[in-house]
Structure formats: C-alpha cells, structure tokens
Amino acid sequence: MNKNWRWLPAGIVPVVIVTAAVSGSAVAEAQPQLPEKTAQELLEFVATSADDAYSGTVEQSSNLGLPDISMATPPGRTSSSDPTSTALELLTGEHTAQVYVDGTEKARVQVLDQLAQRDVVVNGNDAWYYDSESNEAVHAALPDKQTVKADLEAKLQEKAAEYPELQDLPRTPAEVAEVFLARIDPSTEVTVEGTSRVAGRSAYELVLTPEDSATLVGSVSVSVDSETGVPLNVTVLAKGQEEAAFSAGFSSVDFSTPDADIFAFTPPAGATVTEAPTADEVKAELEARQELHQAPAEAQQQPTVIGEGWSTIVKLPAGTAGTLGMNPSAGQAAGMGEIMEIKPGMDPEEVAGAQAMLEQALTEVDGGQALQTSLVSVLITDDGRILAGAVGVDQLVAASRQ
C-alpha cells in the first residue's frame, strides 16, 4: 500500500505558513486611495492635531553606520546608565516603545528593553524619568504652561508695539503652515508624494527634500494619518543610501483617550529619587563653572553657528568640555574622559567599555578626531573645540580653520 500521501501535510503546512506571511506583508503595503491634498493643506492638518489623544507602539531603528553597542552588552541588560552611552545606545540599533499621549499636558513614553524598561512621564507640571534597571527615578518640575504662555503673550504685545510687522504673527494652523512653507522654501522642497499604510491606517506622505548639496540628509519623509493629522512615521534618508538612516513610526496605534492612571506616576518604594535642577539652577551652575575654569572672554564662550539651512554647523568654543564638568587639559588632544562624563561610583569596567566603544567610533582626521555617521558628523579638534553638523567631516575641518 502506498502510504506516501501521509507526508502530504508535512509538505503543505510550511507552504501555507510562508504564503500567509508573504501575503500578509503584501496587503500591508498596498497604497490607499485618498483625496488629494497640497503640502500646505497637509501641514495645516498636522498643526490641528496637537490636542489629540492616542496610544500605540513605536518601532525605531537607525542605521547611522555606528557600531551597534547593544550586542556588546550581555543579554537581558542594557548598557550602562551614564548619559553619553544611553544617548549612543538609543542612536544605534533598534528600539520599541509604548507611547501614550493625551493632549499637550499628558504623555508617557516607555522604552521597552528586554527584561528592563525606561519610562518618561509628563503629567501637567510634573515630569518623571524612571529606569527599572538602576531603580532610579528623576523628578523635574516643569514651568507652569499657562504662566509661560501669559509671559510670552505679554512680551509679544510689548514688542508688537515697537515693531508693527510683528502684529501679523501666525495665529491659526493655516497661517503657521503658510509661514513655515515661506521660511523653508528657498532651502527645501516640500511635496506630498502619494499615500501609504502605516500601522493599518492610511496616511499621506509629506516629503522634505533639501536643495543643498553640502548636507548629508537626502530627504525626510513624514507619514501623516489621513483622519487625524497625527504624524505616524518619520523616515530620514541619507544621501546615496537606499536604506533609511533613521526611522521611527507606529507599528500599531489607537486613537482613543488613554486611561488617566497611566499618567499618574509615583516612584516605587526603594527607588533612588533625585530632583532635577530647574532651568535657573542649571544656568547658575554653568556660570559658576565658567568662572572656576577661568574662561576667556565672554564672546568666545558662546556657541557659534556657521552657514544656514541644512548644512548649518554648530561650533562650540575651546574648553567646552571643561565647562561641562570634565577634566580640562588645555592644548592637549581631547581625551575620552573629556567627552564622557565619568561620575564617582561608576563601574570601571563599564567606563572602560564605553571608552573603547567611543574610540572605535572616532577616526583620526587632520587637526582632530571625528565621528562620522551617515547623517551627522562631529569633529573634536586638538584644541578642544567641538563642531557638529549634518555635513561631511571635510567641511567641519574646513570650518574649524576659519
């Protein structure tokens, strides 16, 4: 008796699974039909969405050409908790976050790591940051929005009396969109390029293309939800690259108001709670440090901006590293200790690991050390100045000589 037909399920099942997986993604990519909108109409639409409430899962991935440090840490652990590595860690690799937004007053972002989580909660005038791994919570008192707004209005009224042309400041979303387009026009082309599907919703594709040959940015595209105007996805392409250098977008989104409990945060018992300095305190602290390091003339201490538009270069003066609380070594090559903030009590192994990582990312160039990514370059000159911009390293080197 021929029993071979009994192997049939073993052949069919994998085919069915693969077909289902492939056709599932094909359906997701189908382009929806939507009424046409001009760039200005779309921008207005985005501006009206600020008060919306929604929640969802955001997937972020970057491909900046930096070494992926998430692989260098053991599984189940994120990298060290010092700010520099945290920033670098968020810039490399992939992350998933849960996002909850209720208008402009309440928001919560949960960065989901494996067996760990980082939370940022904003509720009215309170902001919290909580890291499950170190069990540390940071609280910051935000300035009262109403007071700030009232202050700003008062100042505007005062100025408006002096300068009549300020009286026609943009007020409505439509005016904001118009002003934005007028401002951005010479350096950037803003277009609506068809539609797409993001997180199962139909969206318009707003594309900003720099008309500037110097910048590394190829284009920025924003997917705008066709019903609410909420941006669902942002993708940044570097020049000459097929794959997105940076992309962050919803993989699922729900436009119902999130539960109010989500925005109520109380630090857990046993957590280390620190109070973040207010804006005034930071200013005072920086001034005190500048005096301590016998900073040169005031004018030199200010960051300078070279160029404009997409190829803007920001130049921080010599000794910046020192004023940021690190060991200044005037005239010496900027060592790793200056770039990274080394706090007492930090794990020496972690410090060494992070330094090795930074050293791996930096390359030696004429007159300093540079960090080149596909979107942004940073140059640390031998005399301790820092230059950064969305341009190639050679342009930073040229700017450092001016």
Partner: protein, 278 residues
C-alpha cells in the same frame, strides 16, 4: 462510537500522564529545576554585601528588597538552558523510548491508532512543560518569602502591584513560558519518531534549542530571528509592565503554533508511514 473514542482518548492521556509522573527521572528533573531558585536565594542571603547593581542575571539585585523576585531571577536563568534540557529529555523520549523498550508494538496493537498516540504523547510533554515552569516559579516565590522580606512588587515600569496582582502575573508568566516551550516539544516529538534510541533524540532536541539561541545572538542573521522558536523566550518581561504589553505574547503564540503545525505534520508523516519493528 465517537463517545467511546473520546473516552478512550482521555483514558490514554490519563495513563500517559500517570506513567510520566510516576517515573523517578521526571521527579529528578523537577527536583533539579526546584534547586535553581533555592540555590539563588541561599547564595544571595549568605553573601550579605549584596550584588553590585547592574551585575548578574536580571532582577538579582532586587531580591534582597523583595523575596518574590527570586522567581523571576530563577526563570531568567532556567529558560536558556535548564528548561529546554528537561523538555528535550521528555519530548525526545516520547516515541523513541517506547520503541526502545519494545512497548510501541503493543501500544499500537491496542485500538489506539498512531495519530492518537502522537497526540497523547504530545499532551504529556506539554503538561510537563507547564509543571516544570510552575515548579521554578512557585519554589522561587516560597523560598524568597522564607528568606527575604516580601511586599508589593515594583514592575519594570516603576508602578507597584500588590501581592495578589503579582501572583496573577506569575501565573500568566508560567503560561507564557509553557507556550514558548511548545514548539521545542513538537520538534522533540518529531525527532523521537526518527530513531529507536531515546538518548539520541533527547540530545538532538536539547542541542537544537542551543543552536537556535546561538543563531538568535548573531546580528548577521537578523532576518532569520523572528522565525526562530527561541526568539520570544525572554520576552516574558512584557508581562511585568504596566499596562501589560501583549504583542510578544500574541506573536509568541503564533510562532509556536507554526512550529507545532510544521513538526506535527512531519511527525505524522514519519510515524504513520514507519514500519514498527519493536
């Protein structure tokens, strides 16, 4: 007729489970799994200086503040190696063990049918997955409560749940890990139909779990990762967030169902066409 079929199926499952849990080997493996949380708790208790924050397996530094975290640390340690090892032994033994003992012939002489025998064997292995996971979780909670203070548990999101809520989550967690191991059990069942040497099937199943985890750690194979049955093994942390993130639970169920379908079909193909000689 159908009624009789059903009651026969049930009898077979009950008898399979009784045989499985009467074996000394099964209890030895459960005992070994129970030792993991006990070992962790005792070591942390004895070394009073406390682990430096951020070292060792996840949740280790929380144990001294709340004994209930022992379950979680033990689970993180057990998932990559010890659980797959014991599942490999049980699943690899299902068919090959009977063939090796010469009892497979007699099982099939009874009006059991080969398909039903496969299903019964798989049900036994699945139950063992749940018991094994629950052993680690419950022993961890008990030993933690004995050696350390116990209180409301801080979740990954910084929110706090009371002890009843935490036990609800622990049960979900045990369910998650059980589901995670179902794919591996199906693979073990298939390998077990290939041979009459149970040790070979056990070793091959456990080795596959290791291979899959190694592949999952290689960044060059990123496209492959969502297809590996070990991909969501450590995703149980999503149940410890507030609100609970269900994505990994759903994805995991789908993935494991895929593995069950594929390797179930393979096991059927092999077992129903095989000449049973012993």
């Amino acid at each position: 007729m159908l009624q009789a079929d059903r009651s026969l199926g049930l009898t077979l499952v009950v008898s399979e489970i009784t045989v499985l849990f009467r074996r000394l080997r099964t209890w030895a493996m459960i005992g070994a799994l129970a030792l993991i949380p006990i070992l962790i708790a005792v070591v942390v208790r004895v070394s009073s200086d406390g682990a430096a924050s951020g070292r060792g397996p996840a949740f280790l530094d929380s144990i001294t503040q709340n004994g209930l975290f022992v379950s979680l640390t033990a689970l993180t340690v057990a998932i990559p190696l010890f659980l797959p090892l014991t599942i490999g032994v049980v699943a690899g033994d299902t068919i090959a063990g009977e063939a090796n003992l010469g009892t497979l012939r007699y099982l099939l002489v009874a009006p059991a049918g080969r398909v039903r025998l496969l299903l019964v064997k798989y049900a036994g292995a699945a139950l063992f997955c749940f018991v094994a996971t629950l052993t680690v979780v419950v022993t961890g909670a008990v030993i933690g409560a004995l050696l350390f203070p116990v209180g409301p548990v801080t979740l990954l999101s910084g929110d706090t749940v009371g002890i009843p809520g935490y036990f609800g989550r622990l049960l979900l967690l045990a369910l998650y890990v059980t589901v995670s191991l179902m794919g591996l059990s199906a693979i073990g069942l298939f390998i077990s139909t290939l041979t009459t040497i149970p040790v070979g099937a056990m070793a091959a199943t456990a080795a596959l779990a290791a291979v899959s985890q190694i592949l999952g750690a290689l960044p060059q194979l990123e496209w492959l990762h969502p297809w590996l049955f070990t991909h969501y093994w450590l995703g149980f942390g999503d149940l410890l967030r507030q609100p609970i993130v269900w994505n990994s639970f759903a994805d995991n169920v789908l993935l494991q169902l895929g593995y069950i379908a594929v390797f179930g079909a393979l096991a059927y193909g092999r077992f129903s066409t095989k000449d049973i000689l012993s």
